[in-house]
Amino acid sequence: MGKHVITLMVNGESHRLEIEPRAHLADVLRDELALTGTHIGCEHGVCGACTIRVDGAITRACLLLAVQAEGAVIETIEGLSDSGEIGDLQDAFRHRNALQCGYCTPAMLITAQDLLLHNPNPDRATIRDHISGNYCRCTGYQAIVDAVETVAKARQTAGERA
């Protein structure tokens, strides 16, 4: 079974790649494009470590074949980080110690940003519900919820002032 030649649009750059159809996007991002901020834990959708953004919607990169992603707009933690879109979330995670080993962190940041884009004023239960698909084995989640809540409030205040 031969390789397929596909074009992927990742963080605003177009890449021509020759890949096997069985390769999932998380592997292709990491191994072909050296975008290693997309982590791999379980490869069956449970841990959430591979979460990225596809056409604006958070998606499990381990459950999307790279061949399926041709034609889609793909954004990884590297893209969100470089553009400054989640700078405030990154700061809040650092200040509140919302990461320890950091394995879950890129996906946790993308998932938190997704929540805040859809719901700028979430309560703690809503934050917990939205990150319920992302395992963190270190922090106990409390600090993560704190950090997300802090950013939600700060963005709202900034929005009111503007």
């Binding site: 079974m1 999307l64 399926q68 698909g133």
Partner: protein
């Protein structure tokens, strides 16, 4: 783990998908959202020769309604069901249930058709389809046919679909305003498959003329309409007076399994608890 090697082709139309599927024979497998299939591939539980991608078929897209029914394309994503105003208005049960299906990232890609075709016995949506008396429109090499939800789910991951069939559309009668619906499930973590769950629809307003459809999931090898329990509720002077008998009758309706999550007795107990909570909620809605 990494999947076995397979080939991949993206179909542009329903006709093309059907012919690709027929040509592929035994080794062909449809992929829609991939949220059940890709885990199975990565775990090497399946080894298809070729995946036929139907995620972009226009014939499987769209949510529409006419005077009597709402029609859901099989390619409708969970996230679209969750936000559709038509679904919220005419089949509110489905909108409540969808919030319990997996997590946001999975709901963004998983489809209704893929979920029903996969027929996980712990899945929320097949149970809703039976409670709502949905009809499935299926297309195969010999043409179209319609299958009632109650005849569609045949067992563990087993449906009335043949290997060369494609589920195209699901039609559900619009719920009249007086129809009450209830949904509840017991799971260890939000978004996980449930240990036991209940989707329940109650038609009518007078205690004597009620038609009640309690459908359990996560218990046994398929979603199950608890018809003995329903009869106890419908035939009692008022449904609450029939509850104790209905809870007893559940042992005729359900055959709970034992697994890592819960043993059979626990599941039967959970079913009785769910029935009581469900009935209490439905009757309270009538007073609201």
């Amino acid at each position: 783990m990494k999947a076995y090697a397979f080939d991949y082709v993206r179909a542009a139309t329903l006709v093309e998908a059907l012919s690709l599927l027929e040509r592929a024979g035994e080794g062909g497998k449809l992929i829609a959202g991939g949220q059940s299939l890709v885990p199975a591939l990565n775990l090497r539980l399946l080894a298809p020769q070729i995946l036929i991608d139907i995620a972009q078929l226009p014939e499987l897209r769209g949510i529409t309604s006419d005077d009597t029914h709402i029609h859901l394309g099989a390619g409708t994503r969970h996230a679209e069901l969750a936000t559709s105003a038509l679904v919220g208005q005419h089949v509110p049960l489905l909108q409540t249930a969808i919030r319990h299906v997996a997590h946001a990232a999975i709901r963004n890609r998983g489809t209704l058709g893929g979920n029903l075709a996969h027929a996980d016995p712990a899945s929320e949506l097949p149970a809703c389809m039976i409670a709502l008396e949905a009809t499935m429109l299926v297309v195969g090499p010999k043409g179209e046919r319609r299958i009632d939800a109650i005849d569609f789910f045949k067992g563990l991951y087993e449906t009335a679909l043949e290997a060369d069939d494609i589920l195209v559309r699901i039609s559900i009668a619009r719920s009249p305003a007086e129809t009450r619906v209830h949904f509840n499930e017991l799971a260890r973590r939000a978004g996980d498959y449930a240990m036991a769950g209940l989707a329940m629809v109650m038609h009518g307003t007078q205690p004597q003329g009620l038609r009640i459809r309690p459908v359990f999931f996560g218990i046994g090898d398929r979603p199950t309409l608890a018809s003995h329990a329903a009869r106890c509720l419908e035939q009692a002077a008022d449904p609450m007076a029939g509850l104790a008998a209905a809870q007893q009758a559940l042992s005729q309706d359900l055959s709970p399994q034992e697994d890592l999550q819960a043993d059979a007795d626990t599941r039967m107990q959970l079913a009785r608890v769910l029935l009581k909570r469900g009935l209490t909620d439905l009757l309270a809605q009538g007073r609201g």
